[in-house]
């Protein structure tokens, strides 16, 4: 009777894990170039990641 749903797992959650890994991989984005509207990469990449994170969560919400 233990369906994956009962255990609280969905394969779509892998997307969320990928998001967390990218977020925590600091060397990936600790750099100045390329800049965007004068903002170093470090700053605009993280702000972009917020939007990507929201999109990923929305995808998982509708897909699940």
């Amino acid at each position: 009777m233990e369906s994956p749903r009962n255990r609280g797992w969905s394969w779509w959650y892998l997307l969320l894990i990928a998001l967390c890994v990218v977020t925590l991989w600091v060397p990936l984005y600790n750099r100045v170039d390329p800049t965007f509207i004068g903002m170093p990469f470090f700053y605009w990449f993280q702000l972009l990641l917020v939007i990507v994170g929201a999109a990923v969560t929305a995808i998982v919400y509708f897909a699940e």
Partner: protein, 514 residues
């Protein structure tokens, strides 16, 4: 004595008057019997996706955040941006685990995390540990909200010494206490909507107007010293600032939804689906938080800290004056009034929710559990109302009589303490396999080790963990919760062997399914 900014003050007072009125009339919103704890302390669990969004947002993104993050960026640079990955990480956790929490709490009428742990593990002492972490971690958090309020009041030129300088803070506190007492969670929910509209207005206006005034982002970032612009590359045999940045984000993210006030916000939602939708919609706040953090760099670029009219403010409030100063510098007085009111109201909303959450904890998990199990619903609500007053009064005393430094240090410790409830609360949503006494031992070890780590580092956020020639500087909350979990895992078979039969789990597998 500085000049009082009358225009800003007038608008500030008018907006405060409006939310005071709103706080009182909100008692009649989606009317329920406020003499029950379920209605007073959880708004009857009737908040839909949108109201829950404002309420949880008001919970997480507090006045202190708006003041502290620009201050950190101004003082220490890039590391302040840890708040952005931190808030990215909380949403997957909210999305995956907390709908289950909502379901099981709804089914069994739990109103706190400790209620859930009591029901799941059947151990009142483990539930008491969860309760103590919650109450002790929340108190300094409320105090910090009042500090945020104090800084904006000071920014308007009211910064007398002694008791007279504290009168505006005391007035704001009395307003807060009165509407929370009368309306319960409905008051901060209604006010959160006004607060967020004002905050969004302020943040987006400022982030467009100020960079234009300063000649664009390229010029702003050019003015930031190289050492503050990026994280320093780690030295040999160390994860350096990279590890610190990542563990600060992760440790804070694990801690956030364990705070009683976050739990109260989540449980007040009308359905598990409303919680899920919020996980996808809340990042809008994170985006704004990132923009607000940049205020610290605006201060550096504009050279505001060197201007004579702000010297007194920086002298009194140190770096925390950065956000108010940039707003004073860039905007006409009337807009400053709106912006400061946004920050001030942004202090009252979470302070109200925090005091309600602490009151719920005390009433349910200490008073009813240990002193009077026969408590009637009406008496329960009455006790909670009084406790919410006591908690807020304690926070006020804290702010008025202790140096600011203590509240900040206790807040750091608060994160370390609250994260120790993670194994019981979050893993408890998925499995009963961990033994309740083993969890309690893990909690004890984690709490003691975390407090010790913070103390030996003189209350700095990171602890340099040394393992086999490598150094891993990182947030003590993250390291100690792993230790906590290891202790619980190792001791589980030991305790299981000693006890014949585990206590009854009153929840069933089906109770968790979303």
């Amino acid at each position: 004595m500085e000049q009082i900014n009358w225009t800003a003050l007038t608008i500030f007072v008018l907006l405060f008057g409006f939310i005071t009125w709103l706080g009182f009339v909100s008692a009649r919103w989606r009317r329920g019997d406020l003499n029950t704890l379920h209605e007073w302390g959880l708004g009857g669990r009737r908040f839909g996706t949108v109201v829950a969004w404002f309420l949880i947002g008001g919970d997480i993104y507090t006045a202190y955040t708006f003041v502290a993050l620009p201050a950190l960026a101004y003082g220490q640079g890039a590391v302040a941006f840890f708040a952005v990955p931190y808030t990215i990480l909380i949403f997957p956790l909210l999305f995956v685990a907390f709908p289950r929490m909502w379901q099981v709490c709804h089914k069994h009428g739990y109103i706190t995390a400790a209620d859930f742990v009591r029901g799941r593990f059947g151990n009142r002492w483990l539930a008491l540990a969860i309760t103590l972490s919650g109450i002790v971690a929340t108190m300094p958090y409320i105090a910090l909200q009042l500090v945020g309020l104090q800084v904006v009041i000071g920014g308007m030129g009211i910064s007398g010494t002694g008791l007279s300088g504290d009168i505006p803070l005391i007035i704001a506190f009395v307003i807060l206490a009165a509407f929370t007492y009368s309306s319960g969670l409905r008051a901060p929910a209604a006010i959160a909507i006004v607060k967020d509209l004002l905050i969004y207005l302020t943040a987006f206006t400022a982030v467009i107007v100020i960079p234009i005034k300063l000649g664009g982002f390229a010029k702003i970032f050019a003015a930031v010293p190289a050492a503050k612009l990026l994280l320093a590359a780690p030295p040999a045999a160390s994860t350096g600032s990279y590890g610190a940045f990542a563990t600060l984000a992760l440790g804070s993210a694990l801690a956030l939804f364990l705070y009683p006030h976050s739990m109260t916000g989540i449980l007040s939602a009308s359905s598990a689906r409303a919680v899920r939708r919020n996980a996808a919609m809340l990042p809008l706040y994170s985006f704004m938080l990132g923009l607000l953090t940049l205020f610290g760099f605006f201060v550096i670029a504009a050279g505001i800290d060197k201007l004579p009219q702000f010297a007194a403010g920086f002298a009194q409030y140190k770096a925390t004056f950065a956000a108010p100063a940039i707003l004073l510098w860039a905007f006409p007085s009337w807009f400053v009034g709106i912006a400061f009111a946004a920050i001030g109201i942004g202090a009252l909303v979470p302070a109200a929710i925090m005091s309600i959450a602490s009151a719920n904890l005390y009433t349910r998990n200490i008073h009813r559990e240990f002193f009077n199990p026969a408590l009637s619903g009406r008496a329960e609500a009455q006790i909670a109302k009084w406790v919410s007053l006591i908690v807020k009064f304690g926070a006020l005393i804290f702010v008025l009589f202790l140096p600011l430094q203590y509240a900040i240090q206790l807040q750091l410790l608060g994160g370390i303490w609250i994260v120790q409830t993670f194994p019981a609360v979050i893993f408890g949503l998925y499995t009963r396999k961990l033994n309740d006494w083993a969890l309690l031992c893990g909690w004890t070890v984690g709490t003691v080790a975390g407090t010790w780590m913070a103390a030996v580092m003189n209350f700095s956020a990171t602890y340099p963990l040394a393992v086999g020639g490598w150094t891993f500087p990182g947030y003590a909350a993250f390291y100690t919760v792993i230790l906590n979990l290891l202790v619980a895992l190792v001791l589980t078979p030991v305790f299981n062997a000693m006890t014949a039969k585990p206590p009854v789990d009153e929840t069933a597998l089906a109770d968790y399914v979303v």
